[in-house]
Amino acid sequence: MANPSPAPAPQALPKAAFFSFASCEGCQLQVLSIEDQLLTLLGAVEIVNFREAIDDRRDDYDIAFIEGSLVRPEDIEEIQQIRKRARILIAIGACACLGGVNAIRNKRTPAQLAREVYDGRQDGVFKTLSDASPVRSVVQVDYELRGCPIDRDELLETLRSLLAGTVPYVPPFAVCVQCTMRGTPCMLERGLPCVGSVARAGCEAICPAFGAPCEACRGVHDSPNFEALGEAFFRHGLPRYVAAEKLQLFNNYKEIREPWEKALPSPSIT
């Protein structure tokens, strides 16, 4: 290593740790992709646990960033430990905040899954929880950074707010707001099943801008109207149940599913 620095002991920086449960680690990758400001960040916080990039592992952290859904019995214990140690716990990404794509499977039992994937040959061997769950279903979460993956700029804004000592801003409104401002022609008008009108903004509506319908990877906004979503689909020649099918992709964890499930006809995929 480099020579020990003769500089006076630096004042204690807040210590941050990153933990990853069932996920693709794309969110942690977004953390690494704040290239131009990574060095500033390293000057402002001490990263004590970031398995993706560093060897050190320590348990004395102030801020814990949690990526991924909880899917195994031991995940529950681990997250409870982390919660005990961390002053601030932040769930990052759809997996940690909503269950995300992991929760698509939630309506099927582990045994069913095993059967489907292994032609029944490996029935019952999975030691997984019956539901892939968001972090807040187990411990209290202080802040949630939404998105699949999280947005680089939003991550920076959140870090900046926390370092400054205040709360981050979470947009309360629909993806359509940012989509329309961008001037993207509406996906529904093109016959694509977009749920942007009930989805929470913050992503700058990149999906419609890049040709794909919004799939609500940030969950729903503060006043979603699911009946009207079905109506919007219907008026654009899409069956209402397709709206539910779309919401299944990221919002299928039971508590999150409940409101839309009540308002929309059941999806054909179960």
Partner: protein, 277 residues
């Protein structure tokens, strides 16, 4: 380019007194770019560049409740900006624009009784009204100050309340809390219960109300029932505000801009508005 009216001015903080765990009382240098001569009921936009801006009422005006060249505010920790502002210390700088809001001339109030009603944080914007009326005590008849708080420990400006109460013959100060432990010897009950103790002639009074949204409807009903004229009933209304100068639209209340036509309104002016109270 013409001076952009969204650009704030740095103002030094002279004093920062923690009033309750959530609220800090600031004495701040007044902006100098333009003459700073606010009226009671007006507000300023304060900010920290990089964090945000928020409307805050003046809690004392320069040369009246506050020393010349200074003004006061009481700020509650409520979100992004106020979390940080309430941690600032004397010597720090905050950034200020204003004053904004309607300037209500006081001639019409002269010679009348005054009833000043504040709930919770509402005492901050109401304070300049009290200070102005006490400063020109001779211009008014009876002055009643009614203050409500949720609990004894949430009562704001306790020293002021004490010194106003001390002017026994001049003014009457009534304080009530919604709930309290047994150590509280004062009144308990919502603020409207104090109204029965007003002994001024309500028909010849002006009332000023400031408090949380839920308070208004009850106060209005009771005061009007007691015979107060609709155009003698004044209140400050809060709305979300992002510019203070009638542009951002967030504060609109039916066809009115609260930052321009308010936040101080007479009941007569807003009575017919569905969105007012």
């Amino acid at each position: 380019m013409v001076q952009n009216r969204m650009i704030p001015e740095p103002c030094r903080i002279y004093e920062a007194m923690q009033q309750t765990p959530r609220e800090v009382h600031f004495v701040v240098e007044a902006p100098k770019r333009e003459p700073f001569r606010p009226e009671p009921g007006q507000f300023v936009m304060i900010s920290i560049p990089g964090i945000g801006e928020a409307p805050i009422s003046l809690a004392a005006l320069p040369g009246e409740g506050a020393a010349e060249g200074t003004f006061e505010m009481l700020i509650r920790r409520a979100g992004r900006l106020t979390n940080l502002i309430t941690r600032l210390k004397p010597g720090d700088t905050m950034y200020v624009r204003g004053p904004f809001g309607r300037r209500v001339t006081w001639e019409k109030f002269e010679g009348s009784n005054l009833i000043l009603i504040a709930g919770g944080l509402g005492l901050a914007p109401l304070r300049p009204f009290v200070q102005r009326s006490l400063l020109h005590r001779e211009l008014f008849r009876r002055i009643d100050i009614l203050v409500g708080a949720r609990a004894p420990e949430e009562i704001l400006f306790k020293e002021d309340l004490a010194s106003w109460s001390a002017r026994r013959d001049d003014v009457r100060v009534l304080v009530s809390v919604d709930a309290a432990r047994s150590t509280w010897s004062g009144r308990i009950g919502v603020i409207t219960t104090l109204f029965d103790e007003i002994d001024a002639d309500v028909e010849d009074a002006y009332a000023f109300i400031c408090g949380p949204p839920v308070m208004y409807r009850h106060c209005l009903r009771k005061l009007l029932g007691m015979g107060l004229y609709e155009n003698h009933l004044w209140m400050t209304l809060e709305r979300r505000m992002k510019c203070g100068i009638g542009l951002c639209g967030n504060c609109q209340m039916n066809g009115l801009y609260v930052c321009q036509e308010g936040p101080l309104f007479s009941y007569r002016e807003v009575r017919h508005l569905k969105e007012a109270v």
